[in-house]
């Protein structure tokens, strides 16, 4: 029984076939060999079935039903005067379309222009309880009055909230002009403009955190970037110098929303909330790089690049709440944020013997923060109250230096043995460690004993040692004030902590005319050797196998499989700070541990086949990704001891997702450079995630403390989508 959709599809397919026959019989195809232009056009018609409106399916692309122009490419490579011109489009006129246009004179100059659009769909069904636009979200006064008097009316009101899509789109255009007056010189100018617009979810709070309000954050960004570079190179060496500048502008600088539960400002709760969105900023960088061959066997390379990052957006007031008394004056009208970085690299590499390479490297990345450190005598918490104490903003900065020595011996023509040592010195300002040193030793062995066999192996061991670790250094006042416990003394933040790292890697590749087999193993094992709390270890193992077999000269089978395993262990302590009347509860009996495990299996199997002297080709594959995650947590103390707090140490429900994809493309070569393509694709995505599966605008059934909170109720639904398309591909 033919459905109307199938009938429509059949009609469209018939039209395409008729169209291709008409094209083939046309004079345009005559004597195509003489034409200097070459190109391709692929047009077709597509039908979708299933959940093709799913936000996850449409996350980064757009696959609409109906006619489409998949790609158009044209190359004029032999125009008079050695000129060339080419143009490409893909996903033409769709929401993920791309265009490229190039022209120039061979060996002299070229101009290239690109334009690209990338969608990013977060969700289709966000329930937006607010009205308004342009960064101001409002709720009618009567509704707020009703909620202020009776918050229990919230569930019935949010049920009627409008459904809205939450998505962004990036439109980026880039023009590049390259001039090569001689083979040695090159000058390049580049300018790009990117616009990013749409909405994405953002979490906000009012009333000292009792109201969590999730909103669609308006995004309207413009980023202009310009780059100019000049380069010279010959057999002795070369140099490159460039300037790049980037200006970021956010056209919606703040987000204001009505507090659904208050109609008027008051101390302890504002009628509106306000958050500062990303401020405008600018970045500039100069780069100078050079290389010189001191002799045929020795090359010196250096690069020096100073850069500046600037931000001076006007500060918003402390609060939008007009009822708060005693709000202090701002210490400055704006930040006048200034960071300078200086990146320097020096490398010398030499072959004292033909098979031996010695390399020495020194790198310094100096990240200076000259942003003023401002003192705020108080601050307003969630537009509600001023808990104090005074705070100072800290200009975090660091300097990272690396010294590396390496010897590489390429023996018996095809094998390589490399040994290296690297030392990293990391100096930081306003962080828990002021200096850490990391020593890394490593060896790699690559052997290629037969044409069909290649083995690559490597092993590295690194040890990082902070010279002194002092917790509580990352905020001012240190340790968060008088009635505070500060950081747990045994905590070592993983990015600064003493660490032992082992990393091993192996790759095996074998092939012959008929088959190929490769496999790899990769492990990273980080152990934080002096950490009593925080992340204790981070271990991962990855295995891959990749095979292909040529069954016949026109049939190839392939398959690959990857298993990834990640394991993180961390430890913490539940603590209660002291109050004016009660001492702190800071007992080891309240320690708890958590174990995070992630396993991902990825497999793929497929076939590439051709028949009838390659007139018919079939490419098909099936891929599956299965990810599973678990978080187990346990209290380490005893509930029978007084002051036991850790009553919420429970395992979280397991998470997982699966992504299936089947793609089959059958291509039939018609006479005169035309081909008919039949394409079928199936995608299926399943997900189990306790964090988002039960999200609704009103979350009281799950967490009673959220009775004055409103969420967007975002979900990332599972989907099954079938796509069938018929296309005519014509090369000219």
């Amino acid at each position: 029984m033919e459905t109307p959709a199938m009938k429509a599809l059949n009609r469209l397919i018939s039209h395409v076939i008729v169209a291709q026959v008409a094209l083939l019989s046309g004079p345009a195809l005559q004597a195509q060999e003489e034409k200097p232009a070459r190109g391709l056009v692929e047009i077709g018609v597509r039908q979708l079935a299933g959940d093709h409106g799913s936000s996850k399916f449409n996350e980064y692309h757009h696959i609409p039903a109906g006619f489409y122009l998949q790609q158009f490419e044209v190359y004029f490579n032999k125009l008079p005067g050695k000129f060339f011109l080419n143009a490409q489009t893909r996903e033409t006129l769709e929401k993920d379309q791309s265009y490229r246009f190039g022209l120039g004179q061979e060996g002299k100059y070229r101009f290239e222009f690109r334009w690209d659009r990338t969608p990013h769909v977060f969700a289709n069904g966000a329930r937006v309880f607010f009205g308004g636009s342009g960064g101001v979200y409002t709720i009618p006064g009567p509704t707020r009055s009703l909620l202020q008097s009776t918050p229990a009316n919230l569930p019935s009101l949010v049920d009627g909230a409008q459904l809205q899509g939450v998505s962004l789109a990036r439109n980026a255009g880039t023009g590049t002009f390259t001039y090569t007056p001689t083979a040695n010189w090159a000058v390049q100018l580049q300018y790009s403009n990117e616009q990013q617009a749409g909405v994405r979810p953002i979490g906000t709070t009012t009333n000292a955190f009792t109201n969590s309000i999730e909103l669609p954050e308006p995004v309207d960004y413009r980023t202009n970037q310009a780059k100019a570079s000049v380069e010279y190179g010959n057999d002795k060496g070369g140099f490159q110098s460039s300037y790049s500048g980037s200006l970021f502008r956010n056209r919606v600088g703040e987000l204001v929303w009505d507090n659904p539960f208050r109609t008027a400002d008051a101390a302890g709760g504002a009628s509106r909330g306000r958050i500062d969105l990303y401020p405008d900023n600018a970045a500039h960088a100069l780069s100078f790089a050079g290389a010189y061959n001191l002799a045929e066997s020795t090359r010196l390379m250096a690069s020096i690049s100073p850069g500046w990052m600037l931000q001076n957006d006007a500060f918003l007031p402390f609060t939008i709440n007009t009822a708060l008394a005693g709000v202090p004056a701002l210490p400055a009208a704006s930040l006048n944020g200034k960071k300078q970085r200086l990146s320097m690299n020096y490398t010398a590499t030499s072959n004292p013997l033909p098979a031996l390479t010695l390399t020495a490297r020194y790198r310094s990345y100096d990240y200076n923060n000259n942003t003023p450190s401002l003192v705020f005598s108080n601050y307003v918490r969630a537009d509600a109250d001023m808990p104090g104490p005074a705070r100072r903003s800290l200009p975090y900065a660091y300097n990272r230096q690396n010294l590396g020595l390496e010897a590489s011996w390429q023996f018996l023509n095809k094998h390589a043995l490399k040994a290296g040592y690297d030392m990293e010195r990391f100096d930081r300002e306003h962080r828990d460690t002021t200096r850490s040193n990391e020593h890394t030793g490593g060896v790699t062995l690559d052997i290629n004993p037969k044409k069909w066999l290649l083995v690559r192996t490597s092993y590295k061991h690194a040890r990082r040692e902070p010279r002194h670790y002092e917790a509580n250094e990352e905020s001012f006042p240190l340790g968060e004030g008088a009635l505070s416990l500060g950081e747990l003394p045994g905590l070592r933040k993983f990015d600064q902590a003493a660490r032992s790292r082992d990393r091993a890697e192996a790759l095996l590749q074998m092939d012959s005319d008929k088959w190929s087999l490769s496999g790899s193993y990769f492990t990273t094992q980080d152990r934080y050797t002096q950490s009593l709390y925080g992340l204790l270890n981070d271990v991962s193992y990855n295995y891959t196998v990749d095979v292909s077999y040529q069954l016949r000269h026109d049939v190839t089978l392939f398959a690959d499989y990857t298993r990834e395993r990640y394991r993180y262990n961390q430890r913490s302590r539940q603590r209660v700070p002291p109050t004016a009347t009660a001492p702190a509860n800071d007992s080891p009996n309240n320690d708890w541990e958590s174990f995070t495990r992630d396993v991902v299996h990825t497999g793929e199997v497929g076939i590439n086949a051709s028949a009838l002297r390659k007139k018919v080709t079939i490419d098909t594959f099936y891929s599956l990704t299965v990810a599973k995650g678990s978080i187990a947590t346990r209290a380490m103390g005893s509930s029978s001891i007084a002051g036991f707090l850790v009553t919420t140490a429970q395992d979280y429900p397991n998470t997982g997702n699966r992504f299936h994809q089947v793609t089959t493309t059958c291509r039939y070569q018609l006479p005169r450079s035309a081909a008919l393509k039949l394409d079928y694709r199936f995608e299926r995505y399943d997900r189990v995630d306790f964090q988002i599966d039960r999200m609704r605008p009103y979350m009281v059934p799950l967490d009673p403390s959220t009775n004055t909170s409103i969420y967007l109720g975002l979900d990332f639904p599972r989907y099954n989508v079938h796509i069938i398309s018929v296309a005519l591909e014509y090369r000219f």
Binding site: Y60, K82, T89, D96, R100, E106, G107, D116, T205, D235, F248, D276, A295, T298, R299, L300, M309, Q311, F315, F318, G337, T347, S350, P352, A355, T359, A360, R361, Y362, R363, N369, L374, F376, S393, S408, Q410, N413, A416, R428, T444, D446, K451, E480, S484, L488, D495, G534, T544, E564, Q570, S572, S594, T596, V600, L645, T648, Y652, Q691, R694, Y711
Partner: protein, 326 residues
């Protein structure tokens, strides 16, 4: 801040310098590309369609480029002589016992008897500048990777001949041994192929980003062959809003995006290495709610966990934003 001793480094670099004179070009040893075409007709025709051939044959910019085939394969006089001697012997029906003609030409590719470095030297005659300025001593060079491991020179792969499982940004530079640039990298970096298939990913599969959007496989002075000086500067190319400076900065964010994110793909939302709140609790162990394990059904865990409230975690410019709420 104390630095390593600059004189010691300069001494180290200078001590590695060894002198060796360059060989001048002997014109009498070159035969011209037309002679090559006589025997290697198919290869010559394929090469002729490439951009490199158009420059060599139609608009050479240097003496070397004007040598055509011999610019890469070296002077061909002896090679041609030996081939002709062999052909003459065949015509006469006598066995040819001389050396193979292939021994007198520079063969490039997987079956070449030349080591990778010697093969690469042929390419580097012209391609030392641009992205290859830091090739020598780079990770791939030190491990014996040849240019021809990834690139093919003799045949331009037209974009429309490609049937790849991975879309890529539009380009007219497709001189790869595989249908797509990503598949070239996956030859060795197989794990990355799996990571790109994960639920949370950048638009790699959709053809909007590719490996070289962030990395330069030809060598850079930066870590992990990044095109920019650091991971963060690489991320700022697309996420310029996050670069600040901010009034209130989150120091691990400012130092390295990869403290929290896995750029190649993750099973967790927003490319995170682990889900909140556990990710945040790796460091935040002070008091109150960050120190509490938290039930799965609370606002500290569901949805986006900690960032339900601390949404400005990449930095805040609000005077009341020190805890990244504003």
């Amino acid at each position: 801040m104390k630095r390593f001793s600059t004189p010691a480094i300069l001494t180290l670099f200078a001590g590695m310098a060894l002198a060796a004179p360059q060989q001048p070009m002997d014109e009498s040893q070159y035969v011209g590309s037309q002679i090559c075409e006589e025997c290697h007709r198919q290869g010559y025709r394929k090469f002729g369609a490439t951009k490199m051939a158009r420059v060599f044959f139609e608009a050479p910019r240097s003496a070397l480029e004007s040598k055509g085939c011999e610019a890469c394969h070296g002077p061909g006089r002896e090679h041609v002589q030996k081939a002709r001697e062999r052909d003459r012997a065949r015509e006469l029906g006598v066995p040819y016992e001389g050396p193979k003609s292939s021994e007198f030409i520079k063969q490039l590719g997987k079956d070449s008897p030349m080591p990778a470095r010697a093969q690469n030297a042929q390419c580097l005659q012209c391609h030392q500048k641009g992205q290859r300025l830091f090739w020598k001593g780079s990770t791939h060079e030190a491990r014996g990777i040849a240019c021809v491991t990834c690139h093919q020179v003799h045949q331009k792969v037209e974009p429309f001949q490609i049937a790849s499982r991975f879309k890529e940004p539009l380009s007219d530079n497709r001189m790869f041994v595989k249908p797509s640039q990503m598949e070239v990298c996956f030859q060795c970096h197989q794990m990355r192929r799996a990571q790109l298939q994960r639920s949370s990913h950048m638009p790699f599969r959709e053809g909007k980003v590719t490996c070289t959007s962030c990395h330069n496989p030809h060598g850079t002075p930066n870590p992990k062959l990044l095109t920019e000086a650091t991971t963060n500067e690489t991320c700022y190319k697309c996420h310029a809003e996050r670069r600040g400076p901010f009034l209130w900065e989150h120091p691990p964010v400012m130092e390295d995006c990869l403290n929290c994110h896995e750029a190649h793909g993750s099973s967790h939302p927003q490319l995170l290495k682990a889900t909140a709140p556990r990710l945040c609790q790796r460091c935040h162990v002070n008091t109150r709610h960050p120190s509490t394990p938290q039930l799965a059904t609370t606002r500290f865990v569901f949805n986006r966990g900690c960032t339900n409230c601390h949404s400005q975690i990449h930095g805040s410019n609000h005077p009341s934003g020190l805890r990244f709420h504003r």
